[in-house]
């Protein structure tokens, strides 16, 4: 269970990091990393301004 980040779409703005309830996302310079605490809630997927995130079952 995690979210997949399409690095070719991502504008590395960090909006997803700000809404992640468990704090599983991190913006590192110009890319997003997802750690194991991701609960698959999909909030980040919803708010991403470009649609770069996808829940991966």
């Amino acid at each position: 269970m995690t979210v997949k980040v399409n690095r070719f779409k991502c504008g590395y703005c960090g909006a997803c990091v700000g809404v992640c309830p468990p704090g599983a996302l991190e913006l590192i310079e110009t890319w997003i990393e997802v750690d194991k605490t991701c609960t698959d809630c999909g909030i980040c997927v919803r708010i991403c301004p470009v649609g770069a995130l996808e829940v991966q079952k």
Binding site: C13, A15, V17, G18, V19, L27, R46, I47, P49
Partner: protein, 408 residues
């Protein structure tokens, strides 16, 4: 880099740089870190700022002023326009900045005041001892470092982790974040004297589109929509729709996305050995999303309080409460008022937005204050805007009337 400082500031945006500058000017040993390789890039916002307020903190320099505007024009869904002069709109506009240059100028000021600056340096955690923040864990060029300090200031933006690490829940709900996309466009015909705002549930659900002139047929054209409206449609798609209709021949020379906290004040912004500043403290305005000046203003206070705390050898949350009290006294009411306005305005239909715009026809808004504008709207649309009544409490009716009539 040393292994110990008086203050470590995480994040070199306007809030962090101001904190570092003020603290360094007060004689503190300050480290300012920025995780990116460059200061101010990618840009984080639409770049409008009140020039009168700004002058208190930095000498205006043509190098970072893209344009000076006289005011704002707000367009309702049916095209009805409400024009506001600079004094009224001034809370957010006046200068349209070149943020890349502006942010760098602020960091330079901090550095010249004596702060040490490190780029490509990321905080990965806090050093905690006996319930006190005692510094940061950092990463630079792949190497890990522990850097100690008496105070850590989290100015790490919308994606802030510093507060969370210290036990302050800064997580934004979807309705508490504005999800944004913006283009720098050129070869377009724009009104260089005004910032334009377009509202409507179709074009920008629970948000707005902005067009900020940047001189020479250029503009910052962007959109912010409230997070819970995003998903089926997204900020970028809606911006593309607008741009295709409004500027079909325009050329995009820069694309930026971002998130802006629009939640209003959070429960607390201090802990033992820690203060939060700017977007990290959710100090941006819930209606406009504007936060450049708020961050700088709060950062200046944080820098002064840091100096005072270290002088008294007391960095407890109790002592740092001075920061919390001061910024809330100056900014809290504005943010609370904006939140009330946001809650009401985001529930208006397009027809109701049109009604509001038309209700101001014939009223000269030459130089009303924001509260005066809201009062004028309230008076003409009491039923529609009844929820706003609380924000007028404690403000004399005469003051509001006077502020509307000054130029009429």
């Amino acid at each position: 880099m040393k292994d110990r400082y008086d203050v470590i500031v995480v994040g070199a945006g306007p809030g962090g740089s101001m904190t570092a500058k003020t603290a360094a000017n007060a004689g503190l040993d300050v480290l300012l870190i920025e995780k990116r390789q460059q200061i101010g890039d990618p840009v984080r916002c639409a770049e409008g700022v009140n020039k009168v307020y700004l002058k208190e903190y930095i000498q205006p320099d043509p190098a970072w002023i893209s344009a000076e505007v006289k005011g704002s024009k707000i367009y309702a869904p049916d095209g009805a326009m409400v024009e506001m002069s600079e004094k009224l709109a001034g809370a957010e506009v006046g200068y349209v900045l070149e943020r890349k240059v502006f942010d760098r100028a602020l960091v330079r000021d901090a550095a010249l005041a004596g702060a040490e600056v490190m780029v490509k340096t990321r905080a990965t955690g806090l050093l905690m001892e006996d319930g006190f923040v005692k510094g940061i864990k950092a990463q630079h060029m792949g190497e890990k470092y522990n850097i100690r300090s008496d105070i850590v200031v989290g100015a790490d933006g919308v994606e802030s982790k510093v507060g969370r690490w210290a036990g302050i829940d800064t997580t934004l709900k979807p309705k508490d974040i504005s999800t944004c996309a913006q283009y720098i466009m050129t070869d377009i015909d724009i009104d260089t004297d005004f910032c334009e705002f377009y509202v409507g549930n179709k074009i920008a659900p629970l948000g707005y589109i902005w067009v900020f002139p940047k001189g020479n047929n250029m503009a910052n054209v962007g959109i912010g929509i409230t997070g819970h409206m995003s998903g089926e449609v997204r900020a970028k798609e809606l911006l593309d729709d607008f741009v295709q209709k409004r500027y079909p021949g325009g050329k995009v020379i820069e694309f930026i996305v971002g998130g802006v906290p629009v939640c209003g004040t959070i429960e607390r912004t201090v802990a033992n050995g820690l203060m939060l500043v700017g977007d990290a403290a959710r100090q941006s305005d819930p209606v406009t999303g504007g936060g450049i000046f708020n961050s700088m203003w709060a950062g200046d206070i944080a820098g002064k309080v840091a100096a005072n705390a270290i002088k008294h050898s007391d960095v407890s949350a109790g002592f740092l409460q001075e920061y919390e009290t001061k910024w809330r006294a100056g900014l809290g009411r504005d943010l609370d008022m904006s939140l009330v306005v946001k809650e009401r305005f985001t529930r208006l239909t397009d027809d109701e937005l049109n009604t509001l715009a038309h209700s101001l026809e014939g009223i000269d808004l030459g130089s009303v204050t924001l509260i005066g504008l809201l009062w004028a709207l309230f008076k003409a649309n009491k039923k529609l805007l009844w929820d706003l009544r609380s924000i007028f409490k404690g403000i004399k009716e005469i003051e509001m009337e006077a502020s509307v009539e000054v130029n009429s």
